[in-house]
Amino acid sequence: MSRHQFDEMYAAPDQVREHYLQYARWLAEQPDDVMRARREEAEMIFRRVGITFAVYGAKDEDGAGTERLIPFDLIPRVIPAAEWQSMEKGLEQRVTALNRFLHDIYHDQEILKAGIVPREQIEGNAQFRPEMVGVDLPGGIYSHISGIDIVRAPVPGGDGEADYYVLEDNLRVPSGVSYMLEDRKMMMRLFPDLFAQNRVAPVAHYPDLLLETLRSVSPAHTVNPTVVVLTPGMYNSAYFEHAFLAQQMGVELVEGQDLFVKDNFVWMRTTRGPKRVDVIYRRVDDDFLDPLVFRPDSTLGCAGLLDVYRKGNVMLCNAIGTGVADDKSIYPYVPQMIEFYLGEKPILKNVPTYLGRKPDDLKYILANLKDLVVKEVHGAGGYGMLVGPAATQAEIEDFRQAVLAKPEGYIAQPTLSLSSCPTYVERGIAPRHIDLRPFVLSGQKGVQIVPGGLTRVALKEGSLVVNSSQGGGTKDTWVLEA
């Protein structure tokens, strides 16, 4: 194993890391055919349960939209207790700072006045919502549900040790938590004995924490707030998750057509007449929330919603305008935000990032395209991205033109060698690259994180792209209890 690779399970080809010992011993005892049968069983159950996602633009042979399973890998990703404790602190710190930043940006803008973040980065940003300026939110919280993407990679120039880096913050409508929960459920169903042998921290209480978080930020006038989940509908790729979370929390799953605004409140149409809605966990992007203010052609939202929101008569989770803080052009400033708002040293590291908008950085990017990962500032889901070392000369040239045409639209980072984890592939078990998305809940009573998160795995050999839309799979994530 080279020094540029870090495997979660093996320190060397025949040396299992301590926190994986128990599992590795168990795995060695499992006959191949039993594991194969378990894999098939898992797939059958996922399909019957309908844990599928729709693929944008894809059609099956009959011309209907396709529903795909996200491949589930049987080998868990295991995180030792001490590593998790430090990561948990780092996540709380980071998300707290990001929320402080959002509040600041939409109020006094002290961080701009202090010259830490350039003013044009904010006010010229399409994700900055002038409608939110001066709007006070309960607890000053904007991102109630945050998904922080973390990777582990060898420390440059280090001696084989690796460190966690935050790859990006997702503060708009982060998804994937249902897979975290379903993967655990599946593992417990397939291998109950494993959970008797290993002390794995539970995650199943996430929906309770989520509901508690949502209720904690309800408008001041409510005693027993009505919480709903707002979905774009069953053809959205994450529809399963929307329905799942609504069901687990025991709240209504609504679509825009179910809501209307009257007398400064938001109501839903029920079989017994209109019912007032107090908190909306919305899984619809800002642009589609209110056709009177944002995209006028949207049928996914509710006309007049923003007005009610600004009056404080309904809460949206996450708040409108959080995109300005998870934009890839803002990401490089997060460590400074932590110091500015909290007076603390950042616990979680950022990946060194070059900004196309800075002339020096741009020069560096263009000179080193073949070694860098270049990303569109507003891209998501693994689209609009160049992985230099894996790209052809032609792809690199295309990207060079794109970056030159609009330098401020791109950032670049060194190609991190994501850590790998043993994974079932066609020919047995082989290392595949993984990342991790823990989910951070921020409410009036503080920050809560269930131990673990969603581990995504790039199933293609050598691939660093873990997104499900690009053929990624998932793994159960174990945080071992101390």
């Binding site: 399909r47 019957r48 349960v49 309908g50 509908g233 069953m234 529809y239 929307h242 329905a243 799942f244 609504a246 069901q247 209504e252 799953l253 609504v254 679509e255 057509q257 179910d258 209307f260 009257k262 109501w267 839903m268 149409r269 029920t270 079989t271 017994r272 007449g273 209109p274």
Partner: protein, 319 residues
Amino acid sequence: MLSRTADHLFWMSRYTERAENTARMLDVNYQTALLPQSAAVAKLGWEGLLRISELMPAYEFLHGEVNSKDVLDFMVRDASNPSSIVSCLMAARENARAVRGALPTEVWETINHTWLKLSQMLKDKDFERDPAKFFDWVKHRSHLSRGVAIGTMLRDEAFYFYRMGTFLERADNTARLLDVKFHAVESDFYGAASEQDQEYDFYHWSAILRSVSAFEVYRKVYRDVITPERVAELLILRADMPRSLHASLQGVVANLGRVSNSISGETERRAGKMLSDLQYGNLDEIMETGLHAYLTQFLDRVNELGGRISRDFLVPEPV
């Protein structure tokens, strides 16, 4: 509960029920067509079946001449026909998917599994290989999803709208079945003169009974030869016959009463009136009106009732 959720539940059960009844009718026609009979008689049976769902024009446009292979194809696997089994089960599944969070996991899994398995069976030509087995399977899956729902759903509004859809659809389907069958008898309602015709009549009426699982019920209740009047009485007026119009309306009224809201009074009154007409009606009276006229009127009233339920609960006008 959310109106849209109630709407999806209502239609989920309607489509499941419709798929079942379509399978029942196809099954009986298919079995009857295997009997020695003239091609003309067999064709009559298929034509009647198409008229039931008002699908004659659509069928003729696609296939022209009525023959058993094309009709079966059209009614089972043609996704462009909204009443085909594949369309109904897909609609049931899409409605279930839209409210999967409001359904017990087992109910959703059953309906989803039905759909996935159906797609596979049609692909594998299971239906063409053994139609009778296929129809049995459709019926069985309908029994199963109904049973799982009754066995697992909380008795709240979701359940009442779900059940209401089943009963309303069943009232509609049974009425159509009767209407078409009585129409199909060329030798007039009051039976056959020749011996051959009498024999044909027996198969004809027993086919109707079998299509609503009432053949054995008939024997048990009447202990006598099968006559058209009694078939009509059994399937219209008997409250103890679970697929009769009377029993179906009882189901509609009972569930409607449980979800009653501030604007549904008139709808409840009309449903109640339909029920009492069945409760206190008798066959002579119906025959006086004429069976076809009676059933046509009944279908209109069912249709209107469906519209009213929609307006009062499922798709309310903006306030």
